[in-house]
Symmetry: C2
Subunit: 175 residues, 2 copies
DNA sequence: CCGCTCATGTAACTGGTTACATGATTTA
DNA sequence: TAAATCATGTAACCAGTTACATGAGCGG
């Protein structure tokens, strides 16, 4: 029985939290998310819920109103158990380790830029990160529930730490 | 002309930095990395360098010693230009935005655990993160060059911020 | 009636994963 | 000489991406 992907775990978790969901609603959730990682493309979500339903982790039930078709998915007991196993404990190395960060990756190679370009890079990064942080803080204010708020705070904390680190680097690099 | 993936960018960057590289050496680099993200599987690296060579971004040259075959890859001018474009500026939203973090993701659903399990989760997370941080700090001490050191400091800073955040959550959750 | 949103899906592709296969060279 | 490491690769698979297709319901 293979591990769930992050997306699968999230979907099960969301269904656990919100009750009956349509694939469409799940999609909107990912599309509206403040973090840029989740694409929520139809080609990801629809096959995914079908897969989970086939494995008996979700159960689909027809909830069409009038002539408009609509499928609501609910969590089965097996689905809940599987979700809990994904959630942990125990936590895998992959889960606790430093997440990969494309900005940090680029820093390894900053020496390839001419000083002028490098300064430009740092200015650009700082400005865009500040924008992003503001959006995250705004989104965080609409948190529902304790753990939602704590998780959202996590992304704000991360961005602030990243910004502080960047400023340190800017100082170091301008010397 | 599509965008380079992170892995492709990293490979070009590494070749830029170290000069002629074998695919094998690139692989060892990823395998030995302290961050858990990079798998460095042969099935990723070998097709990747072949692809880049076919696109004229890398040039392969035979550097077999004796009967043992070995291919060294070097960066072409086009490859360097492409690498610079990947590096930025400008930086994309994806590059500056909060990286996705599987630990944070799980926090949204911590309410699904019974208090006892939740406490266990937090203890487990803290212990494993501390281990990981220690490994990162050790790896960081062997940094070569300014930007290598700054980037490595970045992952340490991230982990410390994540740990501080986790402890805040632990307090909040135990109330 | 036109366009937008709700709602569900498929098709082609792609980058990366695990697992396997091969052979030369070094070291215990 | 046996085992580990150097070194290169292929095959099967898989999750997620973009782009496309379909149709109902609703507001201006």
């Amino acid at each position: 029985m293979r591990e769930l992907t992050e997306l699968e775990g999230c979907v099960l978790g969301h269904v656990w939290e919100k009750g009956p969901c349509t694939a469409y609603a799940l999609r909107q959730m990912f599309l509206g998310s403040a973090s840029p990682h989740w694409s929520g493309s139809a080609g990801a979500i629809y096959p995914l819920v079908q897969r989970l339903a086939r494995q008996g982790l979700l159960r689909a039930r027809d909830q069409a109103t009038g002539r408009r078709r609509s499928k609501g998915y609910v969590l089965t007991p097996a689905g809940f158990a599987r979700f809990l196993r994904w959630l942990g404990p125990p936590l895998s190395e992959e889960t606790v380790g430093v997440p990969m960060d494309p900005l940090r990756t680029r820093f390894y190679f900053l020496g390839a830029l001419k000083p002028e370009q490098r300064a430009q890079f740092l200015v650009d990064a700082e400005a865009k990160m500040q924008d992003h942080l503001a959006r995250l803080e705004k989104a965080g204010r609409q948190s529902e529930g304790l753990y939602d708020a704590l998780a959202n705070r996590g992304s704000v904390v991360m961005m602030k730490a990243r910004l502080a680190w960047l400023r340190g680097v800017s100082e170091e690099a301008s010397k």
